[in-house]
Amino acid sequence: MTAFLPAHDGLPTPEPVDLKAEMLRATRALAQPPAARAARMTSDLSIDEELVLHSIGWEPVELVGGMSTHSIPYGVWNWGQGEIAWASQAYTRSFARATERIHAECTKAGAHGVVGVHVEWEVHRHHIDVTLVGTAVRAVGGNGLSADPVFVSDLSGRDFALLHRAGWTPLGLAAGASFVYAPRRSVGTAMKQKGQNVELTNFTEAMYASREAAMERMQSAALGLEGTGVVEVKVTEGPMDFAHHAVGFTAYGTVVRLVAGEHRHVGARMILPLDDPVRAFDVTSLRGTGPG
């Protein structure tokens, strides 16, 4: 939530804008053809995100995307032990190739990075698909030539601006996944546990094994990008729809690094909103149960 505070807080007060006059001006401009030299932009950012990007000197350039799908051979989801390496590799490779492609589109558009990337991924029995779509951005007036490497991030425009103000920069997306068999219980164990409320350690252990491997891979990817951490990590875990004896854990997030001398305190101000939602009509009062 962002807001301009009144002048008595020692902050600049923006000039009041005559919105009616602006609207009239805007509609009159429609009678003229668009300027041929105007830079054409395509973006899936909201107007709030665009305004906040401009406030730190960045602008949207182009809607970009990348996709990859990798095959998983027949039979790998059958009962077994340990990790289902084919599936874990298919996820990692699909994520990496999709990232390369969105990266290439961003570079081609003359942008410095991609923000607000929507990450969609699906695990099928025989293939894993990863799709990335976001808006390429650059410093206002930039031409895509920058000493800094191009970044891809799933942070919103607002989060990117906040990170920027705090002295940090996004470096890219890091992902990790692991799919692990929950081994069969022995006949003796199954008989002993029959009819009891007990922990199924084979599943618990499989969950832990997949989690540790996936998180480690994501952290390794972050280190590979020379990042110091990963923010906005999203994880999923659980058995596969098509193979309940196999559990999967996936994780991805945006790798960040401090580029300022030190972390800059953003200094958020506390506000007390006075616009509490109106209390809904209380039907019990119809029965005369209220006071009076």
């Binding site: 709030d48 025989h126 906040l162």
Partner: protein
């Protein structure tokens, strides 16, 4: 005011002549529009019901039927061929494959959407509006009978002291209220909504089939765990086509607040049908960007 269009219902003309306005705006959006000098004129809608036949005769005929018959479909749009690397090995073997743009699906979508859109704009023009705000468009199947209904609706508004729209065509936008106010303040004028659909069909060759189905090819050339090139190319193409088509509508304007949705219908044996719909607001810069001061971060105490 434009002339009464031939296909506008007679009742609509009478309704718009009445004094009371109608609006699909929420109360906050209504209040914000009044602050912008936008007076609601009427709730306007456009419909178009299309028969929806995905497959035209001849398209893909002969596919999956072994090594006979013709093959590659020429739709006049994007197309890529995938020859079997094994040579002719059996009647069941998919010895060729193809990705191709389903131009007839795209044309049908465009016809349905554009008809519904122009009918809504027609109503707005008839009501004497300068623009339409808060546009919502939907398309959904009717009663599971191969029929698709396109609906576009919004609130027609008049700009206080504004001149009639250029060419008699009201401007349109998905935005309303505060979001529209911020857009204008940022220096963008709403021109129109922009939307397009692209459709690509994947007829898998043997390699794509083996990789997608996880089957082990006795003939090789389908390395287990590798990327499925034909599918990736189809996905890349369908998004590229949708984006290109919207860019063609923009001239030198920009697209703001876009949404890009891709749906995949897997048809087995590696075959698939992909559809991508891109929509957003076509906007025109009418003044240089006026940078806002850095926003103040706040924390809400609840």
């Amino acid at each position: 005011m434009s002339q009464v269009p031939a296909d506008l219902p007679e009742a609509a003309v009478r309704r718009f002549a009445d004094g009371a306005f109608t609006s699909g705006l929420t109360v906050p959006d209504f209040a914000a529009c009044l602050q912008l000098g936008l007076e609601p004129v009427g709730f306007v809608q456009g419909f178009c019901v299309m028969q929806w036949q995905f497959y035209r005769m001849g398209a893909g005929m002969g596919m999956g039927m072994g090594g006979y018959g013709s093959q590659y479909v020429d739709t006049g749009g994007y197309s890529e061929n995938y020859q079997c690397p094994h040579g002719m090995v059996s009647a069941e073997h998919r010895y060729w494959g193809q990705n191709y743009e389903q131009t007839w699906v795209e044309d049908a979508w465009a016809e349905g959407f554009t008809s519904a859109y122009s009918r809504m704009v027609e109503e707005a023009a008839e009501a004497g509006a300068h623009g339409v705000v808060g546009v919502v468009d939907t398309s959904y199947p009717l009663a599971d009978m191969g029929v698709l209904e396109f609906k576009v609706q919004g609130t027609a508004v008049r700009v206080t002291d504004g001149e009639p729209p250029h060419g008699g065509q009201p401007w349109t936008t998905y935005l309303a209220g505060q979001r529209l106010a911020k857009l204008v303040e940022a220096g963008y004028a709403p021109v129109s909504i922009a939307a397009s659909a692209a459709s690509v069909r994947v007829w898998a060759n043997c390699v794509t089939e083996n990789l997608t189905e996880g089957s082990n090819s006795m003939y090789g050339m389908a390395t287990p765990g590798s990327e499925i090139d034909q599918t990736v190319k189809a996905h890349t193409a369908v998004r590229r086509l949708a984006r290109r088509r919207v860019r063609d509508q923009l001239e030198h304007d920009s697209l703001h607040g876009a949404t890009l949705v891709t749906t995949t219908r897997e048809l087995g044996q590696g075959d698939a049908e992909l559809q991508c719909v891109l929509r957003g607001n076509r906007v025109r810069r009418f003044k240089e960007f006026d940078p806002v001061p850095p926003p103040v971060p706040t924390v809400r105490l609840l």
